[in-house]
Amino acid sequence: MTAPAISVTGLTKRFGARTVVDGVTLSVAKGEIMGFLGPNGSGKTTTIRMMCGLLEPDGGEGRVLGHDIRHERRAIKRKVGYMTQRFSFYEDLTIAENLNFVAGLYGMKPARKAVRDTLADLGLTARRDQLAGSLSGGWKQRLALAACIMHKPDLLMLDEPTAGVDPKARREFWDEIHALADGGLTVLVSTHYMDEAERCHRIAYISFGHLIAQGKVPQVVRDAGLTTMIITGPKTAEAARLLKGALGVDQVAPFGATLHVVGTDAELLKKTVEKVARDTGNAAADSETSLEDVFIQLMGESEDTPT
């Protein structure tokens, strides 16, 4: 087995008195697409920045592509493509000018050819002379992706790459990511979207700076040990009111005309749900627990124990 692309242990970062990332241990194998999930402000961006040499960790250590994250930042920067959460290319430069700049910084020779190939690969050739500032969200994201894969990195770190991008562009973006991973590239991608999480080989869930779950999607869902039931019928709103805070019920969420009810104790949940369904004239049935249910559950649990 080859060495992992990312291997960090006990990564910690404090901003003043606030511990933003607390002892995160993470390993990503070569060629793997790792989804990095967690609510806003949970420390995803900070963790990524520490791993690509943009922030100095206050504790912990690790290697990215075999290089020490504290002492070999320059080597890491050369081999990693990092796509920032906020669009961070020059809006007063055209697509081609931005890419030429990046090619120059990575010392690519011949830069002209690298830029031309990248433009063609990502379908940007027709817009090469358009100012980056005038691009829509989807095209900006495409430009950012082009810029961070142009130097043929071994590892991509994408920080919420699809925020504010329409579903079609998102779909195309993920097809691109999978194509790159097939070519041997390792990808770490942070996201809020469940459908995106399910397209990852493995996921890691971070909340309030703590890594609280990681593994393959079905495994994470199974490990959560949740039971989900659905209620259908004419009076779901009334059922929802009765179920909120009831014994054995942890989550109640309306999905269109149906109600998803989630709990950790299967027996107790079943009893409560069936009683409420009977009383309100609705029907209850067993259902599959989704990844989203798991995340809502995890989020709620970690909120109860703030550090």
């Binding site: 920045r49 690509c52 040499g53 943009l54 922030l55 100095e56 930042r73 320059r74 920067k77 050369r78 990693v80 990092y82 920032t84 906020r86 669009f87 961070s88 290319f89 020059y90 809006e91 990046v102 910084l105 990575y106 010392g107």
Partner: protein, 376 residues
Amino acid sequence: MSRFFSFTRLAALLVKESIQMRRDRVTFAMMIGVPLLQLMLFGFAINTDPKGLPAALVAPTQDRFTRAMISALELTGYYRFVAPDASAPLAEEMIARGDVAFVVTVPSDFGRRIERGDRARILIEADATDPSVASGAISTLSTVAASALRREAGLDATAPPGNGIDITVHRRYNPEGITQYNIVPGLLGVILQLTMVMMTAMALIRETERGTMENLLSMPATPLEIMLGKVVPYFAVGAVQVAVVLVSAKLVFDVPFVGAVHVVLAGIFVFVLALVILGYLISTVSRTQMQAMQLTFFFFLPSLLLSGFMFPYRGMPPWAQVLGEIFPLTHFLRLIRSVMLKGADATTVAGSFSALTLFAIGLALLALLRFRRTLD
């Protein structure tokens, strides 16, 4: 609540504005600090009728008549003899460099001629590059000679009354007292300072403000490369400004260019280098473009007042002169005025030149240290 004016609405606006003002500490400090600084500088340092100007004395035989003459000059309050026993070449170098504003030459037969009853002569050379500096000191001369002799005669009754003293005044470098000769080369320094420092100060901050800094740092560029990348373009802009000002100095204002062009250009080169690096340093310590702008002005104002651009440097009190030394502009003004107007050579202005070099190197090191390689 009135439709047109409501105190509640006004109060809400005032509260919000004062919170924002309090949060922006730099602006707040500027609003309090700048008036205070202006008051102190204008109030104490600036003197449009400068007294106690440094002078050199060239007098091979320092007899009692010479001493009487010198003390009479000192009594006017305008002259302060910092080099009371200078040789003629040394005195020439000092006035060319700007170390002294006057060279008083008393011929060796001065005393003998007075004793013999002949007309005696002394020569006062004034540095007239800044006409306002010399005028006060020169205007008192007519009464000085008479009072000196009267006093000397009173002390020693045997001395013959003499036939009077001729004081010859040479207004060096700018005999017609044309203000532009002094102002235009100085303006070159001021214009360069304002544009160079401000433009460079904006450069790095813009990256931070627009969020492109994170991207730039995630790519393999070293701090030195980033600094040079930011500084060199503005350096080129500075070169264009220099050409424009120097050509118009010649064509429009007819300012004499006595010294060697290459010495002036070398001086400008180091000066602009120091300025762009200073601007870069400012942008490493500020967080917004607004702050960078404020810091630039914070620096600009005292340097304008204390460098000798607006008011004679030698006319300021000693503490203000010491303060003036910390501005690159002060050294640049000395250099360019010495070379352009007085024809000083490279060795004469070596002091100013090395001061500017020191600024450039020191500021560059400071900027590289201040530069954050990470987003911490």
